[in-house]
Subunit: 306 residues, 4 copies
């Protein structure tokens, strides 16, 4: 817990496990708010620390500006107060990101997660990114969390930019989905004196993240195996590394299956098997083929989850 | 020129040179429609075949939906009828792309250029992309041009997808910015019997593109050296390869400078030197540093353009 | 043809088509010198300009130092004097490359082709590579040709290094296999006043290479379709671009099949179909599976070569 | 500890820290055996488990076949019996690797480390690599350790190939230098029932490696800070994760500096500062510039090692 340099209140503690929640669509590709609410009610009965609404797995890139805000508003209504709500507010331009950030805060987000702009990736050097995030953090009424997800953006937020941005009183942490544990360790080394908090961006390296000082994780797989990830968290925090390792092992392949390998369609399919509503994806994401569905299921049975 | 399979009218002939026009902003990052119009009036007095509004160089990723349409409408008002107006209508979701396509057509676009959706690049395989483009082309009142720009999207539209899509009566060509001339040749080999038209997406390989059968180019550098690119086109089309080569050589470094090396800020700076309004960029794009400006200028003087 | 700056004799003219010849092995993975000789006698009756012995396709990485020299010696015995013999003499260390270069010259090579050292690729910056090639060229009794083949080495010889090395009186050209035609054009632009000669390193962009000023090609496919590549050369040199294009189109897929797609095992299989001895590969290269062989054959039949 | 399936003796336990020792050259680029011996005598007085001779940091790619064997022989003479000697015996061809493996065993190596062949990387799929390693392991009189180092080879040994090879009774482990901790965890998950041992290939993720079940590390930095890495090992093995973390943090930047950032020249320079003989590199590796030397030193002082 750190204090804002120019404010008396402490910054938000974001330790713990957060699912970047999926957005269920109906068969006409409309947001299915009822099923979304049902999912959240179930999730809320588990030790999940809170929710990331519109991380990459929320198909935020396929939502209109209005839908993005509306989804956050609806989630806030359903979710108990003690669960932290983090909203993805990243857009390509700085101005659009600032506006979205303001709207997300108004809709009930307690922090925003801001993905690196990436379309003009050749120009997105440290200077440009520091400038971008500084403007957003200056304007944001809620704390800002950086978000580096090279698998989607083709861009790693450079370590020197992270270290520089960690000094901003309104930038409290980063979700790092790249999986480079050396980089994660280095970021922690260079920023922990500032109270900067690092969240592992994937369940595949959650234990390793804790081992080097990450405080939690934002993991797609938490949409499917939330309580199990919370148990892994508990084991890591308690120093029960042997048990943690046994659990971590069984999560690697399911995690890869619902992310890199089968993407959001895979995630949504797996959610159905575990009692949640995955629902349809928006096009151009295609549903799994029968063959892919079998492969996906095998990953969960092979690791004794089904 | 080919005929639609199920229609009597011929598809649009898109041979020639098109600048993907830059969008000048004022110092408050608002679109400067007056300066945009001035640029277009000047361009219109050259042999440029037409204009691509909201290719990557138009900073379309930083425009709101409303701005995207408004820019096209304004351009259509200014530009003489004989100049072809192609509008970028790509969005991440299929539905948003369809809607933007309809609006662009209404705003006066004679064809749309549709970039590959790319945020969920791990899922953007041939099936997903063929599905996406087919839906868009089915719905579009104007011909559709595919757009593959791996430097921005991290994604190459696969050759097999291009070949498959070339058979759609409303998909008339591709802008390929990847620079892999072997791929360009292969696409032409596999699609020319369908009248499919390939445009080189960069001035760096414009001559080479013509040599393997491309019909033109959409080149950022045409914002700066439009008449010169038209002259290169003329030489290639007339088979004056020796002269073409001399001209091509001098364009490679300036082209790299206003694209990969210094990006849109470099392009806009160079435009100012050649009598056009570059204007400001939207943040997070930063203006060139003094040092970069000097390096950029040196590229143009070294190649005897300044 | 250029003259050495400090010598009276002209440098070697290397325009034309060269196969980087395959090395046939017998079923015990020994070099089959008889079959190699037979291949070369056949090739020598075609307009091929000469031969590259121990380009990547010669499996040079699998030959001992002694075998590398012996193969060159045997080839020189078989091949008529008017055919130019270029030997690959690249090794990882500068000293080993110098020694191999001396031996290759003694064995009858009229020039050496020197691949970029690549194992410590993180340290192979322009300085290191310029230093390496300068040492080799200083020591070599025969002209040196640079060799950039990123598909194998993971390393592109930087343009600035090429431009710098082109000024060395004993460095006469480059084989560039990367396929980036913009880069090829730029290298020619910056070095042609020195008489530096660029060879396309693959048949897939042979026409495009000629269009921007390359003087020939070193093409794996010339092991299979040598006379056809010479015909393509003739058409390009004569300015019969239309006919050249028709021929080029049909070569792209066969070329990809015997290089990137099926590698040397594919090349050797195709050689057998066209009357040459491909023979076995050395392990760990595996022979094609039955299924791969069918796919390979289909590529040649689809393009009307079989 | 596991038992060979078809032999009574236990396989080699390779847990612990191993430096992949540097090879000091004199100013004429000859191997400086005396200084090498001096280094090893010093190292031998520390808790290092043993030595890897001719990992990538040994500049093995720059040694002749004879030198490779001779260096191993000399090291074996100097090093006490209780220190394990692992020799790099990888070559591009299977046959050469088998021969080098036999010679290394004769020269005193207790195990061999076999890097993935990589020049024909397009053909190095799982089948080819499984075939290669199986042949080598079948022939080897000593246990074989797989070696995946994508930073040098441009190739990751696929997980499925590792899992398959782990079943060979003479393949006892892998050195994985890629740094993908999720992959490391997965390999351990899939092979630990076979007694397969995973070594982290870099000090940057040594703690994280231990956290997911790696048994040790082969770390360039152990040439410089050997005792400190052994201390990190001790802390991890004892479950003193908090102290381990503090130590790990301070090692990340020095490790990056002597590997990715400044390469072997950086490693050798740092060795000089810590009382070892780094000596010269073989060309084309260049010595550090004065500026680089300062930057390197700063990394060690910033992390309180100097």
């Amino acid at each position: 817990p750190r204090t804002y340099m120019n404010q008396a209140r402490p910054a938000l503690d974001i330790s713990g496990i957060f699912p970047p929640i999926a957005t269920p669509f109906n068969d006409r590709e409309r947001v299915d708010y009822d099923r979304l609410a049902e999912n959240l009610r179930k999730y809320s009965r588990t030790p999940l620390r809170g929710f990331v609404v519109q991380g990459s797995n929320g198909e935020y890139a396929y939502l209109s500006r209005e839908e993005r805000v509306e989804v956050v508003r609806k989630v806030r209504e359903v979710v108990p107060k003690e669960k932290i709500l983090i909203a993805g507010s990243g857009c390509e331009s700085t101005q659009a990101t600032v506006e979205m950030t303001l709207e997300m805060a108004k809709a009930g987000a307690e922090a925003v997660l801001v993905v690196t702009p990436c379309y003009y990736k050749g120009s997105m050097n440290s200077s440009a990114l520091v400038h971008h995030y500084t403007k957003v953090a200056d304007a944001s009424p809620v704390p800002v969390i950086l978000y580096s997800v090279p698998g989607n953006t083709g861009l790693d937020l450079p370590v020197d930019a992270v270290v520089s941005l960690a000094q901003h009183p309104n930038i409290i942490g980063i979700k790092d989905s790249g999986g480079d544990i050396t980089r994660v360790g280095l970021i922690i080394h260079k920023t922990r004196h500032l109270g900067f908090q690092v969240l592992s961006g994937s369940a595949g390296f959650l234990l390793a993240g804790y081992s080097v000082g990450a405080v939690g994780g934002v993991c797609a797989l938490a949409n499917v195996l939330g309580p199990q990830l919370c148990e892994l968290e508990r084991l890591c925090v308690n120093g029960q590394w042997q048990e943690a390792r046994e659990l971590q092992y069984r999560l690697i392949e399911p995690n890869a299956a619902v992310t890199r390998r089968f993407g959001i369609p895979g995630l949504k399919q797996a959610m159905e098997w575990f009692g949640y509503h995955g629902g349809y994806c928006r096009s151009p994401l295609l549903p799994l083929t029968e063959h892919e569905r079998k492969d996906l299921r095998k990953v969960f049975t092979d690791n004794a989850w089904l």
